[in-house]
């Protein structure tokens, strides 16, 4: 069984930064990523708020730069998903695909993924009209009618992106007020292709097995009035959930499942750090993920030094 000083779980901005800092400090590191590096940045069209790119940068271009930066350093990389993590004597045993490894410290950077709403038809029609990625699937709805569910930044941003492709877009939000940034709200509310349906929930996504999604059943939460809306697709942006089904049970998490850390990214388990979107915090951005990764790697390095004394 291979043993390491540090295992970084996840190859998004937090994991890439953590690995970079650890390797540069001479720590024997493995970077585990289930797909290829990048994480959710790959689902973002333009990144306009990461310093150093005043004209914005495409998500995949930023990832290419991150990967190129790391390519110069020699360390182990494993390309599969973590299935289980258990605290053992001297660190943590991590099952990667079918291969177990042991690491003295772990930096969990496994990120977050879009939450499901949990309504009938959602799972059945995923990939057949239900989507969680406007950038991936928007092109299938050129000139068509779609519904977007959500009220935060993602829902607004993705609606604006989709409005360039679709003929008509219904932005459906269960509350009257939107949480998303004012600048996105203004653009959405005045957009000729976007109709905003407030205080409205989707009860069910309907369709047929061959054609996929054909519409949504709506309910107004104030009046109780029910209605049917024919749409060709439903894009869902109702928040995030952590990718952390495999972490040790003893790891402390908040009520939404995000991992609780101190300001040095240390969790309640000695030697176990968390960084980036998987961590319990308010601001989930590339800039904060990178900062978390550097902080966690520095703290993990100090932890290893203390172990070796």
């Amino acid at each position: 069984m291979k043993t390491y000083d540090a295992a970084v779980i996840g190859g998004g901005p937090a994991g890439i930064t953590a690995a970079l800092y650890l390797v540069r400090s001479g720590v024997r590191t493995v970077l585990v990523e289930k797909l290829s590096p990048g994480g959710q940045v790959l689902m973002t069209e333009d990144i306009e708020n990461y310093p150093g790119f005043p004209k914005a940068i495409k998500g995949y271009e930023l990832v290419d730069k991150f990967v190129e930066h790391l390519a110069a350093y020699e360390f182990d990389r494993m390309n599969d998903e973590v299935r289980e993590m258990t605290p053992v004597d001297g660190g943590f045993r991590i099952l990667v695909g079918a291969e177990p490894i042991v690491a003295k410290t772990v930096i969990l950077c496994s990120g977050a993924r879009y939450k499901r709403v949990g309504i009938p038809g959602e799972e059945l029609y995923t990939g057949k009209g239900v989507s969680y990625c406007a950038l991936c699937d928007g092109n299938f709805f050129k000139g068509k009618t779609v519904a977007v569910i959500g009220g935060g930044n993602s829902a607004l941003e993705e609606s604006l992106y989709l409005s360039r492709l679709v003929d008509k877009l219904y932005l459906i939000h269960r509350r009257d007020d939107f949480r998303g940034a004012k600048c996105y709200q203004d653009k959405c509310f005045t957009h000729p292709k976007i109709d905003v349906l407030r205080s409205t929930i989707v009860d069910e996504i309907v369709g047929d097995p061959f054609k996929g999604v054909t519409g949504v059943k709506l309910a107004n939460v104030k009046s109780g009035e029910k209605s049917n809306l024919p749409v060709d697709g439903v894009f869902i942006f109702v928040g995030f959930e952590p990718t952390a089904s495999f972490v040790p049970e003893a790891l402390k998490r908040d009520k939404n499942g995000f991992v609780i850390t101190d300001c040095e990214m240390l969790t309640n388990l000695p030697g176990f750090f968390a960084a980036g979107d998987v961590r319990s915090k308010n601001c989930r951005q590339v800039a904060t993920a990178v900062g978390d990764g550097a902080t966690a790697a520095t703290a993990a390095h100090a932890y290893l030094e203390r172990l070796h004394v």
Partner: protein, 106 residues
């Protein structure tokens, strides 16, 4: 490397193939597809002679994706004797693709 298939040769390369065939429907503008690309190529090397692994660019080919009702990518479809035996949408790990192949194709 996975074999790039088109609407033109989908019938002969995929549906009439003697081996089970896994097709990755992708597009260059799709981030999760980019994330899966290298894994698909690794699988193509690992399963040489057992399973044929193909990629179809949905940007350049629309007939086959629409025939199989694809409206999200990446979508993986596993074919055996010209029939769909399994299907998954969204970026998935190498182990879960191997599980799908072991259960449905080998």
């Amino acid at each position: 490397m996975a074999i790039q298939v088109t609407d033109g040769n989908f019938d002969s390369e995929v549906l009439k193939c003697d081996l089970p065939v896994l097709v990755d429907f992708w597009a260059p503008w799709c981030g999760p597809c980019r994330a899966m690309g290298p894994i698909i190529d690794e699988l193509a090397a690992e399963y040489t002679g057992q399973i044929k692994i193909c990629k179809m660019n949905v940007d350049e080919n629309s007939a086959s994706p629409s025939k199989f009702g694809i409206r999200a990518i990446p979508t993986l479809i596993l074919f055996k004797n010209g029939e769909v035996v399994d299907q998954t949408t969204g970026a998935v790990s190498k182990s879960s693709i191997k599980d799908m192949i072991a259960k449905k194709a080998l």
